[in-house]
């Protein structure tokens, strides 16, 4: 029912509190939100249609551009789907290198999330530290793959080049540099009374609600459900390394950000174990000629635990040299379009950014 005090606000794509090109239409009454509806579509590039016009290898430089912040998990899921349909084996050493790359990408993505969240709340110092440490990790990627953001490194059959000499020492040094700053992060942000007051009981979601609305990733783990695809359906070498899944009980923004912090520490453990256990050998099993390669008919659905949740790919092949249908199931799709709208009811305008970034929504993933 529309009263006279109701106002329609555009929390639009150009907003200081918005990360990424995404807009929400809010119906507010005073400071309370009555109804919210999300407006995606600013970054719709039509990838799934464009990928039907290119051959299997020509698609691979395009896939990483779907999620700007963590491109490696996109490349991984495409490579896994093609390998499953075409029955290609990946050498052992390549699996270890893929795991290291994926975990480093998870670290950069979580640091980016810390920057976004801390900026939103006004903790500029911590935000700049997070961005600086992310930059050190991007330098490592440049040395391994040749580019800082769009790596184009994991392709069907293995990885594109072997690790250069001295890479292991540089990675461990960088991780040590970042790790020795954790007490400062804790003192300044995670154990800060202001953060507690801003984030506690905001955006609360219960266990049953999370399951009903199709949430995956940190939202589930912060609500108390211990579910991680790396343990349920292991891919790469996740069944050969030891790591734990951090969970919390409350399901609000405070728990979600703490879960992110704990996951970063687990990633560091995984990377160090991978370097110790990595065998010698080949890193690439050559795939057939890119101009003539045809994959037999079939379909498959593969999934990967990206830093935001379950990332899946539904791939249909018609026996041709181009894919017939490509459909990415991105984790920000249910989080940003259903859960966000539910959680924003009866929230205050100041908390819109808070809730959105703690849900870890990234706009390019929704639109593809």
């Amino acid at each position: 029912m529309k009263t006279e005090r109701e106002l329609e606000l555009y929390f639009g794509p150009q907003h200081i509190g918005m990360v990424g090109n995404f807009s929400i239409t809010l119906k507010v009454e005073g400071d309370r939100i009555i109804e919210a509806s999300a407006n995606p579509g600013y970054l719709h590039r039509g990838f799934e249609k464009l990928m039907e016009y290119r051959t299997w290898i020509q698609n691979f430089p395009m896939v990483c551009r779907i999620n700007v912040i963590e491109p490696d998990s996109m490349e991984m899921v495409y490579a896994m789907a093609v390998e499953k349909l075409a029955k290609i084996e990946v050498p052992e050493r390549a699996n270890y290198i893929r795991t290291i790359v994926l975990e480093l990408a998870r670290l950069t993505s979580h640091l980016f999330g810390c920057w976004a969240y801390a900026n939103m709340l006004g903790f500029d110092t911590v935000a700049q530290w997070a961005m600086y440490h992310r930059d050190l990790l991007l330098d490592l990627f440049e040395e391994l793959t040749g580019a800082r953001v769009y790596h184009i490194y994991i392709w069907p059959g293995g990885v594109r080049r072997d690790i250069p000499k001295g890479f292991k020492d540089r990675v461990l040094n960088t991780l040590h540099t970042i790790g020795s700053c954790i007490p400062d992060y804790d003192n300044t942000f995670f154990n800060n009374r202001l953060f507690y007051k801003r984030a506690k009981n905001i955006g609360k979601i219960s266990k049953d609600e999370a399951k009903k609305l199709g949430a995956t990733g940190q939202i589930l783990r912060a609500a108390g459900i211990k579910y991680d695809i790396r343990k349920v359906e292991p891919y790469a070498v996740y069944d050969k390394v030891n790591f734990e899944i951090p969970t919390r009980e409350d399901g609000d923004a405070y728990s979600r950000v703490w879960v992110i912090r704990d996951e970063m520490i687990q990633s560091v453990h995984i990377i160090m174990q991978c370097f110790e256990k990595m065998p010698q050998g080949e890193v690439y099993n050559r795939v057939p000629n890119p101009f003539k390669w045809k994959i037999p008919k079939g379909e498959t659905y593969v999934r990967v635990e990206s830093s935001r949740g379950e990332l899946g790919l539904y791939l249909v092949s018609n026996g041709e040299d181009k894919p017939y249908r490509v459909h990415f199931r991105t984790p920000s799709y249910p989080h940003g379009l259903i859960i966000l709208e539910k959680l924003l009811k009866n929230a205050s305008i100041a908390d819109v950014g808070n809730i959105m970034i703690s849900l870890y929504v990234v706009a390019p993933e929704i639109d593809r």
Partner: protein, 622 residues
């Protein structure tokens, strides 16, 4: 083990501990005074080495954004089998993925570590990729380079980033090995050396081809090579055979003995092994038992004109096939008992068995071409009769007379062609225990390897040897490298750089060959004029000498008044115009008497051209 994580409320004062960062060194670079060095594998702007680049265009085919165009550069004079095109890259579309680097077969396209370009004019964002070897103007040394002016026209030299690596390339540099009989076993008999690909192997070999079509330019007959290889990859040998037959009606023969000009220019051969085009042609012809069913020709309307072809070699057979397809009535005359010409008597049985020749010839006969074997023109039938009764004549007589060295006692030596002919379709020749073959070409290799097999058959278990003597040294020996390697593996001894002086004879029996050291083979103008060091001598022992130094044609069947009108080029070849017509009316020619390549596929190319020429001539007549 559950994580017992407690919710801490935190404190207000602890954050002030971070104030110590105010006094620490900042982590940012004071750009542009402090610069960041890009990593050794950085993917920036393109570099291209114009000496190695062949213009194949594979980079343009694989680019996912169609950012590369091949532009024709008129200043480059390409080698045969290369194009004078070079890639031009549009940086508005390029996404710097590096797929073009991974597929470049010679490895000339690389990515550098430059990545700056700031300009108002958008036309400057396309680049004809070069490198510091050909473009000293835009690639500057470290002293002259300045980061403030960096752009596509102001780049650092020796700044390579992402380069090609054969282990991670997108093409397969290794060939599927062809099963062959090993040397120790094959030198004891005339068993066919090459066993042929199975279906799996042929499909795998056919999948290597990158379809750049450089081979089609280099083939003298311009076969549609990438199309027929693609048909083999898709398991359609009929389609493949149809594509081959558009330009070459002798796949079983050429699939065994072709010189393979295509394989010499194949892109994959630049840093790996070329695609086995010849073996795949053999596979296509071997797979089909009955050509007629696979090729499904439409019925041909006869024109009523008659053409005579003298010589049933590759040239004669091809011209008969092409003319029959146009509706002419063709009669082929040959002095041998079957078709093939030089192919029938020349290459030994371990390279070209008679069944393969007959397979191709029988198909051409089944189309309605009349063959008159055992008919020597000039003896069994006169040339004037043919010249009078037929509307056009094609001379595909080839070079059938062996040359001689004319040294002392060379009448005691055997000649190459009669030796080979007697062994292949005659009664056989009794050979000696130590044979000396004079010559360095492919015919000499055929003679030597055949002689070796005859020695092992006629003297089993005894010590026998075959030696060769050639004027040319290793670097200019005219035989193909494949033949030389296989001959060496079978145990033939080579003596390059020696010329024959005299054959020593004692009591009517050959004792050996006296040789002298060669000074030079060609003179300054490139003509064949060997000179020797007469005093440096070497004596090779042997009880049989065979001369294999070349062949000349035999024009004795043409009567004098017609022969005088026949014009020749300065290189002693018959002169023809662009339609294959000689200076004699009604007479066309092609093959070894016309071209300098002296192989089967060039004869087929000449025959196709002459068939078009005869067609035009006979249509234009009335």
């Amino acid at each position: 083990m559950r994580n017992k994580l407690q919710v801490k409320k935190g404190s207000f004062l602890r954050p002030f501990k971070a104030i110590r960062y105010l006094f620490e060194k900042p982590g940012t670079l004071r750009y542009p005074f402090e610069q960041k060095e890009p990593s050794p594998r950085y993917r920036g702007f393109h570099l291209n080495d114009w000496d190695k680049c062949t213009g194949c265009g594979n980079c343009a085919d694989i680019c996912p954004n169609e950012a590369i165009t091949m532009v024709e550069i008129t200043e480059i004079k390409p080698k045969p089998g290369e194009k004078n095109e070079r890639p031009k890259i549009d940086y508005g579309r390029c996404c710097f993925c590096g797929l073009c680097v991974d597929i470049c077969p010679p490895g000339s396209l690389r990515l550098s570590r430059d990545y700056f370009h700031i300009h108002f004019d958008k036309k400057t964002f396309t680049l004809l990729a070069k490198d510091e070897k050909t473009d000293k103007e835009h690639f500057l040394s470290a002293e002259k380079y300045s980061i403030f002016q960096a752009s596509l026209m102001h780049r650092k030299e020796n700044n390579e980033g992402f380069v090609s690596d054969l282990k991670y390339s997108l093409f397969e540099p290794e060939r599927v090995p062809m099963p062959q009989v090993p040397p120790e076993k094959r030198k004891l008999s005339f068993i066919e050396q090459v066993l042929g690909y199975s279906q799996q192997e042929a499909k795998k070999e056919a999948s290597r081809c990158l379809e750049c079509k450089l081979c089609e330019d280099a083939c003298p007959a311009h076969l549609k090579i990438s199309d027929y290889i693609r048909a083999i990859y898709e398991d359609k040998p009929d389609e493949s055979l149809r594509k081959i037959f558009e330009d070459n009606p002798l796949p079983a023969i050429c699939g065994r003995i072709c010189m393979a000009h295509c394989e010499e220019v194949c892109s994959l051969g630049k840093r790996g092994k070329p695609v086995a085009v010849r073996w795949l042609k053999r596979y296509a012809s071997d797979m089909i038992k009955d050509y007629k069913k696979a090729l499904e020709l439409k019925p041909i309307k006869p024109t009523g004109k008659k053409v005579a072809v003298i010589g049933a070699g590759p040239g004669g057979l091809s011209v008969a096939y092409f003319l029959k397809l146009k509706g002419y009535e063709v009669t082929v005359f040959d002095s041998l008992p079957g078709g093939g010409g030089m192919m029938r008597i020349g290459p030994p049985l371990y390279r070209l068995p008679i069944e393969s020749i007959d397979k191709d010839v029988n198909y051409i006969a089944s189309l309605g071409v009349k063959f008159k074997f055992n008919t020597t023109v000039g003896k069994d039938i006169s040339f004037e009769e043919i010249y009078k009764n037929y509307d056009a004549v094609y001379l595909g007589i080839g070079t059938t007379v062996s040359r001689s060295t004319h040294v002392k006692n060379s009448d005691k030596a055997y000649s190459a062609l009669p030796f080979l002919k007697e062994n292949k379709i005659g009664k056989g020749v009794k050979v000696g225990r130590e044979i000396i073959v004079i010559g360095g070409g492919n015919v000499a290799m055929d003679v030597a390897r055949e002689a070796l097999r005859l020695q092992h058959i006629q003297y089993p278990g005894e010590k026998v040897v075959t030696k060769t003597v050639s004027l040319e040294d290793w670097d200019i020996m005219p035989a193909t490298k494949e033949e030389i390697e296989e001959a060496k593996a079978e145990g033939i001894q080579f003596n390059p750089g020696w010329g024959p002086k005299e054959i020593k004879v004692e009591d009517g029996k050959v004792k050996g060959l006296l040789c002298m050291k060669v000074k030079s083979v060609f003179d300054e103008q490139g003509r064949f004029r060997p000179t020797f060091y007469e005093e440096k001598e070497m004596f090779l022992e042997g009880d049989m000498v065979i001369e294999a130094i070349g062949q000349v044609p035999d024009f004795s069947f043409i009567p004098k008044e017609l022969f005088d009108k026949l014009e020749f080029t300065p290189r002693k070849k018959v002169k023809i115009d662009e339609n294959g017509k000689t200076s004699l009316p009604k007479v066309f020619a092609g093959g070894d008497i016309v071209n300098l390549n002296l192989d089967a596929v060039t004869a087929i190319a000449d025959a196709k051209r002459a068939a078009e020429g005869i067609d035009l001539y006979l249509k234009g007549d009335k």
